[in-house]
């Protein structure tokens, strides 16, 4: 188990390096000049060129990358071209909002999804059909559509929740929006996994032993059924982080997602690289946790 963990942790470094290099190449090879975007329709060619030189943007690419990696290893992620502020600082101001939304949405999706999945698998055909129909709806609705619908109904017409901004009340509608597709996916996954396990011999044995159905389902079936579901939860973390970009824009939340879109449009190289690196680290960490959880749940994995 120890070796397993160590190996997984060590692998993070080449992954992050690869992500950095790939992002750097992508953002630099795509057409677009951050200085020109920053100036908009108000700057002259001479001023643009001067600032580009001062920021080292006219240096050869490999030189810029080596300089960047060198700084990153010392903890300096550089300054945003647009605001002049340290990238790490701007990220750390916005990351909590995104983590809050993604975390609460993830927890909601897991609770709602698993409950519905178990209920669908363990109930009669009508309840099963109803739950699966609901899940289909959940997967089909795009974030900006469901988000704006919720705003219009609960924010504007009923006035139960604020439309834009921060705070616990402002978290409700974005969480519902973000969690819906994820809980639908988890519900379906849980249900099918449960059904598979319910058909296995050891379940028949458990029932033959005289155990109550509820004990059978929760103590024996669920634990086994969870294995593939846990993997999906790990992957959903990435989907939720990506979905947060849209949901944050719709609900005007000051998070990392919206910030990323602006950074890319502005070709703010240090910002984009910083965000991708941090996001990749978060994603890698979540999946490491999932892998460890996996090994914990299923002893067979640990000894591979």
């Amino acid at each position: 188990m120890g070796r397993y963990v160590l190996r997984r942790v060590v692998l993070i470094i080449p992954v992050l390096f690869g992500v950095s290099l790939f992002t750097f190449l992508m953002i630099h090879l795509v057409p677009g000049d951050p200085v020109r975007v920053m100036m908009g329709t108000s700057g002259s060619a001479e001023d643009a060129e001067r600032i580009r030189n001062e920021l080292g943007l006219n240096d050869p690419l490999h030189q810029q990358f080596i300089r960047y990696i060198g700084h990153v290893l010392q903890g300096d992620f550089g300054n945003s071209i647009r605001s002049g502020q340290p990238v790490l600082r701007e990220i750390s101001e916005r990351l909590p909002s995104t983590l809050e939304l993604t975390g609460v949405a993830m927890a909601t999706a897991v609770v709602v999804g698993l409950t519905l999945g178990v209920a669908a698998a363990a109930s009669g055909p009508r309840a099963d059909a109803a739950i699966m129909a609901f899940a289909l709806l959940g997967i089909s609705m795009p974030y900006f559509w469901s988000g704006i619908l919720l705003i219009l109904l609960f924010g504007l017409k009923l006035d139960w929740f604020p439309i834009a901004g921060t705070g616990p009340m402002a978290l409700v509608l974005p969480t519902i929006t973000l969690a819906m597709p994820a809980s639908a996916v988890l519900a379906r996954m849980t249900r099918s996994s449960m059904l598979e396990v319910l058909n296995q011999d050891f379940v028949r044995t458990a029932r033959a032993k005289g155990l109550r159905e509820r004990v059978v389902v929760i103590r024996h079936v669920l634990k086994n059924a969870l294995i593939p579901v846990v993997t999906i939860i790990g992957l959903q973390a990435g989907t939720l982080l990506a979905g947060a970009v849209i949901v944050e824009s719709v609900f005007s939340r000051p998070g990392l997602g919206r910030y990323t879109v602006t950074a890319i449009q502005a070709r703010d190289f240090p910002q984009v690289q910083g965000i991708v690196l941090v996001s990749a680290a978060v994603y890698v960490f979540v999946n490491l946790t999932v892998d460890l959880l996996y090994a914990f749940i299923d002893p067979r994995i640990r000894y591979q």
Binding site: V35, T41, D47, R94, I148, G155, P162, I163, R258, Q265
Partner: protein, 548 residues
């Protein structure tokens, strides 16, 4: 446009009597940009205190105007800093931080006599040293100024003459300096003490002399301003002394149009900026809000790349100028909320020549066809598209994927199809569009600008701005270059007006732009505000306003 009556505290009569010897006193004039009152200025006591929340489209990248490039930053900062001069409701330049000013006859030396009773929010006194500090900071390469440095023109020296007299010398005359020092979003006067203390962080919480102070900036969410209790130097035309009535001014950025409108309808924000044209009529008809509209200092245009066939032929370009139904373009792009443009300047900009509407080609497809035929284009194979020397008249127009642009382009595409010209529409996001147009990768484009000074001609038309700048048509015309340079160096307004009139005609004649429309901006205000001023540059002055 009539010349204003006052220059600082001198009047016109004194001027005509002989002025000040070797120094000519510069005559300010009524600019086309003017302000609209918001909420009738009622008699009766303004209410003290209260808060007002503005919902904007985007968030500024920094509030340090010396470094930053966004207009929205400038709009917010107009409440936090004052300019050396201001513009009144009729568009006259009037004293603000400068009591009076003079420009030498050669237009290169500008001398400002400053008010003596002004302090920055942190208590630092405002004086000529402070003004020099700010000018120097903008000009310092270490500041990496994006826009402000260009606004100061070809700088030579900055000198403190005495405690309240500041002198700025230029290498060449630079007429736009007047407007640039009034539109203080970029050429702001900041407290030298605060700049030194805050270092790189200054852009988060700048310190100026204005009626409001920056209280905090919650990144991605809102910027909160609190009134400056010591403020007592509002420009005279506002008729207001002492601190602002409103206690708290908040600016929130809500990117999504639907969310911003919903937040306004729900009362979460009090002022809706950048209202989409389709929504404006709803607010107009309800009568429950102040709907303030004004023509933007902006022109959206169709541009030809004059170095790429078939647009390297002047006759072809001139022909196509008759082929565009600009009224339909206006309807399609912005629901008609705006006016058709025939000049490269908007009607609310200085030196706009109203004669352009008659001078420019009118929509006349028959004439367009006639001119194209004379240039050698004919439909020999009957497929509906013109050819010349075996080449079809087919080209691509490139633009940002903004609905206004693509809607306009579709109308133009249809207009061109009617006369046998095939146009395809390509889109991308802003950085790609600018980059590819700079590299001459497309034969035509649809673009637009927002800019207050007619010197926009330099950025968009001067040959030095090809490749790395905004000269997407790649036009390199010596006569145009000369007009532009003379225009920006001529400080005398009558002479300058004549140059820009000639320039507007000439730009039309060499046909590398088809100006399309000038949008009308609208801000929607909750009716609980009184006595605010909406300036045609697109920002609101809250100094004398009060809220219920």
């Amino acid at each position: 446009m009539e010349p204003g009556m006052f220059i600082g505290k001198w009047n016109r009569r004194q001027l005509l009597m002989g002025g000040a010897g070797a120094m000519t006193v510069f005559l300010p004039f009524a600019s086309a940009a003017r302000a609209t009152p918001v909420g009738e200025a009622e008699t009766g006591t303004p209410k003290d205190g209260g808060e007002w929340t503005v919902g904007m489209l985007e968030e500024p990248d920094t509030l340090d105007g010396h470094k930053g490039g966004t207009r929205v930053g400038g709009d917010i900062m107009r409440n936090v800093v004052d300019g050396l001069m201001a513009k009144d409701h009729d568009g006259n330049y009037v004293p603000a931080l400068a009591e009076s000013w003079e420009v030498s006859e050669d237009g290169k030396t500008w001398t400002f006599k400053l008010r003596k009773d002004v302090t920055f929010h942190d208590g630092t006194p405002f004086n000529a040293e402070a003004v020099k500090f700010n000018f120097d900071r903008i000009l310092d390469p270490a500041t990496k100024s994006a826009v402000a440095i260009g606004q100061l023109g070809p700088a030579d020296t900055t000198t403190v003459i005495d405690e309240f007299t500041f002198e700025y010398k230029l290498k060449e005359p630079f007429a736009p300096l007047y407007l640039n020092l009034t539109d203080c979003g970029f050429t702001s006067m900041f407290s030298p003490t605060a700049v030194a203390a805050a270092g790189d962080d200054f852009g988060r919480k700048p310190v100026g002399t204005g009626p409001f102070m920056v209280e905090e900036w919650i990144q991605g969410d809102r910027i909160v301003l609190k009134r400056n209790p010591n403020y007592n130097w509002a420009p005279a035309f506002l008729g207001h002394t002492g601190q602002a009535n409103i206690e708290t001014l908040t600016f929130r950025s809500i990117i999504e149009d639907a969310s911003r409108i919903a937040a306004f309808d729900a009362g979460e924000i009090d002022q809706l900026r950048s209202a989409p044209p389709s929504e404006i009529s709803r607010y107009d008809e309800s009568g429950d809000y102040w709907v303030i509209k004004n023509l933007a200092q902006s022109v959206q245009t169709f541009e030809f790349n004059v170095t790429l066939a078939p647009f390297d032929d002047l006759a072809v370009r001139q022909a196509l100028m008759y082929a565009v139904d600009k009224q339909s373009v206006l309807e399609a792009a912005v629901d008609g909320v705006g006016v058709v443009a025939n000049s490269f300047l908007s009607p609310t900009m200085d030196y706009f020549w109203p004669g352009m509407d008659d001078y420019a080609p009118k929509f006349d497809p028959a004439k367009a066809s006639e001119l194209l035929a004379a240039a050698g284009w004919a439909d020999s194979d009957g497929d509906g598209i013109l050819e010349k020397d075996g080449v079809k008249f087919s080209f691509g127009a490139f633009m940002m994927s903004i609905e206004q642009f693509t809607n306009a382009a579709q109308v133009i595409q249809s207009n061109f199809k009617d006369i046998g010209v095939e146009m395809t529409i390509g889109t991308a996001e802003i950085a790609t569009v600018i980059s590819e147009l700079q590299q001459s990768k497309h034969q035509a484009d649809v673009f637009g600008y927002i800019y207050a000074e007619p010197d926009i001609a330099f950025l968009w038309f001067h040959s030095s701005q090809i490749g790395n700048g905004l000269n997407f048509p790649h036009i390199a015309d010596p006569k145009l270059d000369e007009l532009i340079v003379t225009g920006r160096q001529t400080v005398d307004i009558t002479a300058r007006a004549a140059i820009y009139e000639e320039m507007q005609k000439y730009v039309n004649d060499i046909a590398f732009w088809i100006p399309l429309w000038t949008p009308e901006n609208a801000d929607i205000f909750n009716k609980r505000i009184h006595n605010a001023s909406y300036h045609s540059n697109g920002f609101t002055i809250y100094t004398a306003a009060w809220v219920d």
